[in-house]
C-alpha cells in the first residue's frame, strides 16, 4: 500500500476513536513539551546570564587591593573626585565589617550571625541593587541605626515575608530594617548581606575589607580602570587594581554543566513515559481490532502490511503529540520568561525537531503492539467476526 494511503487511513482510524487517540497522544504531548521547555529554558537562561553579564562587564569596575596576599583596607576619602572622572556614572564604597549576632527581640531571642557591610551614598546605583520590599534608608538621618537585608537573612530570621520596618537587636541596641534588597549583579550575591550606612560605621566596628564599586559608561571601563589606582593613591599607583568581573565563558559553563544533566534526564523520562502511554493504549486497541486484522489478512494482507499499519498509526500519534507538545513547550518558555522577566530565546529548529522526536517516540511505542497484531493467526482473528 502507498504511504499516503496508509497515513490517511491511520488518521481516519484515529479519528474513529478520538478519546483514545487524545489519551495516547497525551503522553507524547507532555514528553515533547517537557523537552522543548527544558531545552528552550536552558537556552534562555544561559543567554540571560550572558546578556546580563556582558552588560555588567562593560559598565562596572571593582577596585580592590592589587595583591590578595596583602589585603589592604581600601581608603578612599574623596568619592566625588572619582565620580568626576570622565565616563564614571556612579561610585560607592563597600566595607565588610566583623560578624555580629542579631536577634528579633531585645533579650533571649534566637541569635543569627550576620555579616554587615557599610556602604556609601550612591550604593544603589553602583551595586545595582534592586529593592524587593520596603525602602532604602535615604530619609533616615545620620544618627539612626538602619539597615537593608538580603533574602537569605530574611529566611534565617524565620520571620515570614517582610511587611514593614522592624527592629533587629545587635548588642542590646535596635537597628531598624527598612527593606529587603537583591543585587542584580551576579558576582555580588547580596542575598546574605546586611547593608548599613557608612555614617554608622563606628557602631559596627572596624572594617576588615573594602572595595570601590564604580559604574562607567559602556566602553569607558578600560580607560577609567587605568586612571583609578593613581587617583586613589598617587603615591602607590600599584597598590590597587581595577578589576572587571570574571570571564563569561566560565559562568555560562557552570550554568549549563549544573543543569544540563538534570534536563537531559528529565527529558528522557518524560519521553519514555510518553512512549509507554502510547504503547499501552495501542495494545488495548490492537485487542479491540483483532477481527479487523483477521479480515485484512483474509483479504491478502501480509504480516508486514499489518505491522506497518499499526506502526504508522502510532507514529502519526507521536508526531501529532510532537506538534502540540512543541507549542505547549513554547508556551511554557514564554510563561517562565515572563515570570522571571527574562528575554525568551526560542530556537525555531526545535519545532521540526520536536515532531521528529514525537514520531520516533510513536514508532518506538508501536513496536510491541504492531508485532502482536502482525502475529495474529488470520483464522483465530476472524473467528471473532
Amino acid at each position: 500500500m502507498l504511504l499516503t494511503d496508509l497515513v490517511r487511513e491511520a488518521f481516519r482510524s484515529l479519528r474513529q476513536r478520538p478519546g483514545r487517540a487524545v489519551l495516547s497522544a497525551l503522553g507524547s504531548v507532555l514528553g515533547v513539551a517537557t523537552v522543548v521547555a527544558i531545552v528552550g529554558l536552558s537556552e534562555t537562561a544561559s543567554h540571560q546570564v550572558t546578556l546580563r553579564f556582558d552588560e555588567l562587564r562593560a559598565t562596572r569596575l571593582v577596585v580592590d587591593a592589587a595583591s590578595p596576599d596583602e589585603p589592604e583596607v581600601l581608603d578612599v576619602a574623596d568619592l566625588d573626585a572619582i565620580r568626576a572622572v570622565n565616563g564614571v556614572t556612579s561610585a560607592a564604597r563597600i566595607m565588610a565589617m566583623g560578624n555580629r549576632l542579631a536577634t528579633l527581640v531585645p533579650v533571649h531571642g534566637r541569635a543569627i550571625s550576620i555579616s554587615p557591610s557599610t556602604v556609601s551614598l550612591d550604593f544603589q546605583d553602583a551595586l545595582d541593587v534592586e529593592v524587593l520590599a520596603g525602602t532604602l534608608w535615604d530619609g533616615a538621618g545620620p544618627e539612626s541605626r538602619v539597615a537593608v537585608i538580603g533574602e537569605t537573612v530574611v529566611r534565617e530570621l524565620s520571620m515570614g515575608p517582610f511587611v514593614g520596618p522592624f527592629e533587629l537587636w545587635v548588642d542590646g541596641l535596635p537597628v531598624t530594617v527598612t527593606g529587603v534588597v537583591r543585587g542584580s549583579g551576579l558576582d555580588l550575591g547580596l542575598s546574605g548581606a546586611v547593608l548599613v550606612p557608612e555614617s554608622q560605621s563606628e557602631f559596627w566596628g572596624r572594617p576588615r575589607d573594602g572595595s570601590l564599586i564604580v559604574r562607567v559608561l559602556p566602553g569607558a571601563g578600560a580607560g577609567v580602570g587605568e586612571v583609578l589606582p593613581t587617583l586613589i593613591d598617587p603615591t602607590a599607583p600599584h597598590k590597587y587594581a581595577a578589576l572587571v568581573p570574571p570571564e563569561p565563558e566560565r559562568l555560562r559553563a557552570t550554568i549549563s554543566g549544573d543543569t544540563r544533566l538534570a534536563f537531559i534526564a528529565g527529558s528522557v523520562i518524560a519521553l519514555l513515559a510518553g512512549a509507554i502511554a502510547i504503547a499501552t493504549s495501542t495494545l488495548t486497541s490492537v485487542v479491540e481490532r483483532t477481527e479487523e486484522y483477521g479480515l485484512r489478512r483474509a483479504l491478502g494482507a501480509r504480516r508486514a502490511d499489518i505491522l506497518r499499519m499499526v506502526l504508522i498509526e502510532t507514529t502519526v500519534l507521536g508526531a501529532l503529540g510532537g506538534v502540540v507538545g512543541s507549542y505547549l513547550g513554547l508556551a511554557g518558555i514564554l510563561a517562565a520568561s515572563l515570570l522571571l522577566d527574562w528575554r525568551p530565546i526560542f530556537e525555531p529548529g526545535l519545532i521540526p525537531l520536536a515532531i521528529v522526536i514525537g514520531s520516533a517516540v510513536g514508532a518506538l511505542a508501536g513496536l510491541i503492539p504492531a508485532a502482536r497484531a502482525a502475529g495474529l493467526q488470520p483464522v483465530t482473528a476472524l473467528r471473532r467476526v
Binding site: M1, S13, L295, R297, A298, A301, V385
Partner: protein
C-alpha cells in the same frame, strides 16, 4: 474442464479446547471454473472449517488442497497471503466491511494490498460497484447502507483482484430471504459471466436450485457427495 480447486482427504481436528474436536474428516472435492457449489449443513457441521482450509486461512490436519494444481498448504505464509490476495475472494456472513472506509475504499483494500495504482483502483472499484448494482453508493460508509447493500459491497471487494475462486460463508445469514435471494443471484451471475468458481456455505435452501453441486456436511462428513 480441469479443476481449479481440489481437496483430497481433507481433515481438521481442533486441539485448542480441553478435548480434541474433529471438525472435518476425509473430505474430497473437485471444483471447475464457472460452477456454483453449495455446502449445506447445520450449525457446527464444519462448513466454516472447510472454507477456511480451502481459502488458505487455516492449515488442515490431514489431506491436501490444490489450487490450480498447487498444494497451497506447502506455501510459505507470504505465498499464502499472495494466494488470498489474488486467487481467492472471501465473503463473510457479517459482511466484514471496514467502517471507516467508503464503499469504494472497501472495494479497493485488496487492490491496495496488491499495490495497484490509484487510478486503476478508482475506475475498477467504481465499475465493480456498478456491477453489483451500487453505482450510486460509491461514497457511502457501511453504516449508511442496508445489510443487502453491504453484502454487495463485500462481493465487489471479493472480486476486486479478479479471483478464480469465490468462498462465501453464509452470505445470506444476516439478510431476509428476499434480499438473500438477490445476493445468491448476484453470486450466480458472477459464476456464469466471469467464470469464477464459487463455493457457498449456507443452511438457506434458496441457493440449492441454482447450484451445480450441493454437498451436505454432517459432523464434519460429506453425506451426499455428488
Amino acid at each position: 474442464m480441469a479443476a481449479i480447486l481440489e481437496a483430497r482427504g481433507l481433515g481438521k481436528t481442533y486441539t485448542t479446547g480441553p478435548e480434541p474436536v474433529v471438525a472435518l474428516r476425509d473430505f474430497d472435492l473437485a471444483v471447475e471454473p464457472g460452477t456454483l457449489t453449495v455446502i449445506k449443513g447445520r450449525s457446527g457441521s464444519g462448513k466454516t472449517t472447510l472454507l477456511n482450509l480451502l481459502g488458505g486461512l487455516d492449515r488442515p490436519t490431514t489431506g491436501t488442497v490444490l489450487v490450480d494444481g498447487v498444494d497451497i498448504h506447502q506455501l510459505s505464509p507470504g505465498e499464502l497471503a499472495e494466494l488470498r490476495r489474488s486467487t481467492v475472494g472471501f465473503v463473510f456472513q457479517t459482511f466484514g466491511l471496514l467502517p471507516i472506509l467508503t464503499a469504494a475504499e472497501n472495494v479497493e483494500v485488496p487492490m491496495r494490498l496488491a499495490r495497484a495504482d490509484h487510478d486503476l483502483r478508482r475506475s475498477r472499484s467504481t465499475a465493480l460497484l456498478e456491477h453489483v448494482g451500487l453505482g450510486g453508493r460509491v461514497k457511502h460508509r457501511p453504516h449508511e447502507l442496508s445489510g443487502g447493500e453491504q453484502q454487495r459491497v463485500a462481493i465487489a471487494r471479493a472480486l476486486a483482484n479478479e479471483p478464480k475462486l469465490l468462498l462465501a460463508d453464509e452470505p445470506t445469514g444476516q439478510l431476509d430471504s428476499r434480499t438473500g435471494r438477490t445476493i445468491i443471484e448476484l453470486i450466480y451471475n458472477v459464476v456464469r459471466e466471469d467464470g469464477v468458481a464459487a463455493i457457498v456455505a449456507t443452511h438457506d435452501p434458496a441457493p440449492m436450485a441454482l447450484a451445480d453441486r450441493v454437498i451436505e456436511l454432517s459432523n464434519g462428513r460429506a453425506i451426499i457427495p455428488n
